[in-house]
Symmetry: C2
Subunit: 203 residues, 2 copies
């Protein structure tokens, strides 16, 4: 199994380099658990979903604490058949998820969001979950959408994606649960996510 | 068939509102062909791939002509089973694509990129193509990657995505061909794309 993300932070300020560098400091606690490589378009993070989602959450929460409007795009991926197996990506939640009924997985996902830490940073997210390599991919996606609607962070459905809103802790836990508990454990699952904070557009 | 995109433009300047409004002017020629709706996170565009990819290209090319570092994220989608049929999304290229061999589709895709207009704006793109609802989804993805490598806009492969570089005309035509000619004509296909211009990071 290979799990990781391509992450890009976009501060809408002329001091965008300063905001990016400050945000990257929030990754320090995860440098032992994730392989992190930055190029001119995005930062690759490879590792298990626990540090992976915590790191992207903390990166964005740090940047969102400043006054500037800031957004982040993340492509999360697990199980891509074109990637090598990597033992650092091992995840027990993922391994056991598919032995459970859809109802039970939805319950565990809701519990995890309820128990998420509160970071004190309000954010908006929209994201799409893609379950690949499966004839009946929409069953798992509809099951995930049912969980999202009961997650406490659901804002509304949009064409091609779902809007979430809330504290960064609960919102990123919602996305992690979507990534972990829906779609086959050994399958190819991806998420296309955009986060936003401090938008001048009226909420 | 329902075809469209969620589009977000991110200028890394304190005058980001001005750059976004200027970019949106580039959409005027497409307002009769696309349904366009903007909220606080993204702009929905619904319609056939001809105006859809031209509009996203022109939006980004306009914004990239200024001095500011600017990026854009687009989620393109066709054939999502959860969306209604929309006659304005009809596309003959898509309908006939799957009657052709992979070799022939790759050839037609290369021809289209060769004939793309030159906009005079150099851009970077990275994107992922997702073919959903199919057991053997990687066959079409590998076929698409072979086309990308011969497209003239290929820069390099990355984990989870492919980097392109070149004139905005050729780059967006490459992405449109990937979207149209790979994956089943009636299937669910999406693209997660990030574009970048005027980055201060050394190229």
């Amino acid at each position: 199994m290979f799990i990781g993300a391509q992450v890009s932070l976009y501060p809408m300020t002329s001091d965008f380099v300063g905001v990016i560098l400050s945000g990257l400091e929030a990754l320090s606690p995860y440098k032992d658990q994730l392989r992190i490589e930055t190029d001119d378009m995005s930062t690759l993070m490879v590792g298990s979903p626990d540090p992976l989602f915590d790191a992207t959450r903390d990166l964005f929460a740090r940047a969102a604490q400043g006054p500037a409007h800031v957004t982040m795009h993340v492509t999360y991926s697990r199980g891509c058949p074109g990637e090598p197996d990597d033992p650092t990506c091992r995840c027990d939640t993922l391994t056991t998820a598919q032995d459970l009924t859809l109802d039970r997985r939805q319950q565990l996902a809701r519990d995890a969001v309820r128990d998420a830490p509160v970071l004190g940073v309000e954010i908006d997210v929209q994201f799409s979950l893609y379950v690949l390599g499966q004839d009946r991919h929409m069953d798992e996606i509809y099951g995930c959408i049912d969980f999202l609607k009961e997650s406490g962070t659901f804002l509304r459905s949009k064409n091609f994606c779902t809007r979430l809103r809330g504290d960064a802790g609960a919102v990123f836990e919602t996305v992690r649960q979507a990534f972990l508990r829906f779609g086959p454990a050994e399958g190819h699952v991806t998420i296309d996510l955009t986060a936003s904070a401090n938008s001048p557009t009226a909420r």
